[in-house]
Symmetry: C2
Subunit: 363 residues, 2 copies
DNA sequence: CTGAAAGCGCTTACAG
DNA sequence: CTGAAAGCGCTTACAG
């Protein structure tokens, strides 16, 4: 270690625009560049005195690490890709926020892509991402993503964890909610209240969550000795509009349902609105339950009973799984499926028929 | 240009794990590395025949560009930072989605940071971002960001565009909505309906939008010869809970308001719920208007009258401004302030007193 | 524990 | 329009 000279002053005065590099730090600190590199990377193989001296010089000179250069040799970009299918969906936004925080705490920065449910846009983003040598990928696949797309990521040797949704048959880690169980629990809740005609709203064939939810719905119905009525199974996307528009035809049936299982809270919000429009009071005349929970559910009218997943927990678990996968790419694939919790609010009650019997009030 | 040899085959067979580099392409195509580089960067200074030949080799060998290496010499990382104050807010999510799409179309990828309204987290993210040599920064500053933080970005010489919100006194480009005008328009709408006691809900002193909105509110009130009543100006954050909780004390006043101007739709949603809870029918007994619009507003109960800004337009404009700023860092600072549009739904009506007079119905 | 030097995969002048 | 070579700012073996 050399004693500080006037070099520093000279550097500052004569070349203010020139970037300060690791070499400058080494020269100023009187050590080799390799030593500075080790200090920067928290290597234990450097003496404490040297470390703190180098750190001082780094601070004094206002040195900024260049990750682009570092990654060139080391293969650690500290960058992770996040491909989200629809950032505007509140669940996705919440999970993305959680992922960002968790990954940053683990020392990674996120490159974000939002494909708005478009498979080609998703593909274009992933293609671009490749050029940045991301160390891993968190993927909430767009509806209808073919499994070949996910297989290709495997060929690229980028560790991937699917979050919230998954592509069937794609052998990657996954963290999400158990929608089958959630739907079964929701349906059992309605059955226990006495409902005999329960509709399932939002069976999008491209959505895994919807298909699994439907399976859980059928299971619970079967347990109660009920068979589903084809009129009461409504296809459609997870949007407010779809929920809103579904209500009129549904309640024009000869025997309309007394309760609705809505795949997505957005559908449920639309349905609540559609019911009010038809003069049907949600919660009293028709029960509504959603298979996911969002902040809005607590303060809509009436407050929406829903199956809640801990989205922050899902986000943190996915981040942890990805960082494990990065260090051990060949470990067995893991699926983490979180159980939902029934959050009872005011949108579900006994069916009118049952209440009629109870209160002996004429129709 | 050399005719293709068996080199390619050999490469594929003997070194399948080795990364294919620009050098490999040059060798295989029989040109210099500089030429390949020019092809990759769409330089016009390369003959068409050479270009297409090189492009073929690139495709055949499955070459993947390494931006980290490229950026080392060129200073073009094609990376842009996005620091969002609160991704869970629907407006922010929508703008972020729009920014992502627009920047990707311009050939940039986004590094995302969500600070959840925490200034220290925002600062930590920006500090990290520096190491990646982002070409620019889109910033929705956290409430309470001191202008020194933004000034520091200037010292770092990273072009920044503030979006939706801005830090007062920070000399950067800005794209957002005219909340002063929006609040004035909203207030005039209520005044025109006959309201005399209008409350302003959500005056967060740290929020520029809230402060500007309040200024517009006062302007419109003054035009009508009204002075504001201190009881009718409610501080508080932009959350559902704040809106919900504000209703009871407000309507316990000797002379409660007949209409509410809510700074944020979240506040308005909470307020609608709080009014219902108190047996006050929103839209009939108390009018509610919000100074921002989101999808939920159309389908809540009652549908919420709101001032709408075109968020996609704001996102695209911010992206365009940033890309201009990147090429011309010394151009004069630009502020793009978009005008709102009044979206009339069902949450505003004439005040009860006026209706009483009209219908001559006793109280 | 530290130093000197090669090398990561590109781009960029500089000659031709 | 193309080639040969230096260089961007780090990390990594390899000696000491």
């Amino acid at each position: 270690m050399r004693a500080p000279t006037t070099d520093r002053l000279r550097t500052v005065i004569h070349a203010p625009a020139k970037r300060i590099t690791l070499k400058d730090i080494a020269r100023e600190a009187g050590v080799a560049t390799g030593t500075v590199s080790m200090v920067l990377n928290d290597s234990p193989r450097v003496a404490d005195a040297t470390r703190s001296h180098v750190q001082h010089v780094i601070r004094d000179l206002g040195y900024v690490y260049d990750r682009g250069a570092g990654q060139l040799r080391s293969k650690h970009s500290h960058l992770v890709g996040v491909a989200v299918c629809n950032l505007v969906n509140p669940c996705m936004a919440e999970v993305t926020a959680s992922l960002q925080q968790a990954m940053q705490d683990l020392g990674h920065l996120l490159i974000l892509g939002n494909c708005a449910e478009s498979v080609p846009r998703q593909q274009r983003f992933l293609e671009k991402l490749r050029e940045y040598k991301v160390e891993g990928l968190l993927l909430t696949p767009a509806a209808g993503t073919p499994k070949t797309h996910v297989a290709r990521l495997r060929d690229w040797r980028v560790p991937v964890v699917q979050v919230l949704r998954y592509v069937p048959g794609a052998p990657t880690d996954f963290v999400g909610g158990d929608h089958r169980l959630g739907a079964a629990m929701a349906t059992r809740h309605l059955l226990a209240l006495g409902h005999q005609r329960i509709a399932f709203v939002g069976l999008d064939p491209l959505s895994i969550a919807a298909r699994e939810g439907f399976a859980g719905f059928l299971t619970a119905l079967a347990e109660a000795g009920q068979t589903p009525d084809a009129d009461l199974v409504l296809p459609g996307p997870a949007t407010r509009e779809a929920g809103y528009l579904a209500m009129a035809p549904l309640h024009a049936l000869a025997r309309p349902p007394t309760a609705l299982v809505c795949v997505d809270p957005l559908i449920a919000f639309g349905a609540l609105r559609g019911l009010v429009q038809l003069g049907i009071e949600p919660g009293r005349d028709c029960s509504v339950i959603a298979l996911d929970d969002v902040a809005e559910a607590a303060l809509c009218h009436p407050p929406l009973t829903a199956m809640a997943f801990d989205l922050d927990c899902i986000g943190r678990a996915a981040s942890r799984l990805l960082s494990e996968r990065i260090v051990a790419p060949d470990h067995a694939v893991e699926h983490l499926v979180l159980q939902p919790r029934l959050v009872v609010r005011s949108s579900c009650g006994k069916p009118r028929a049952v209440r009629r019997l109870n209160t002996a009030r004429p129709r």
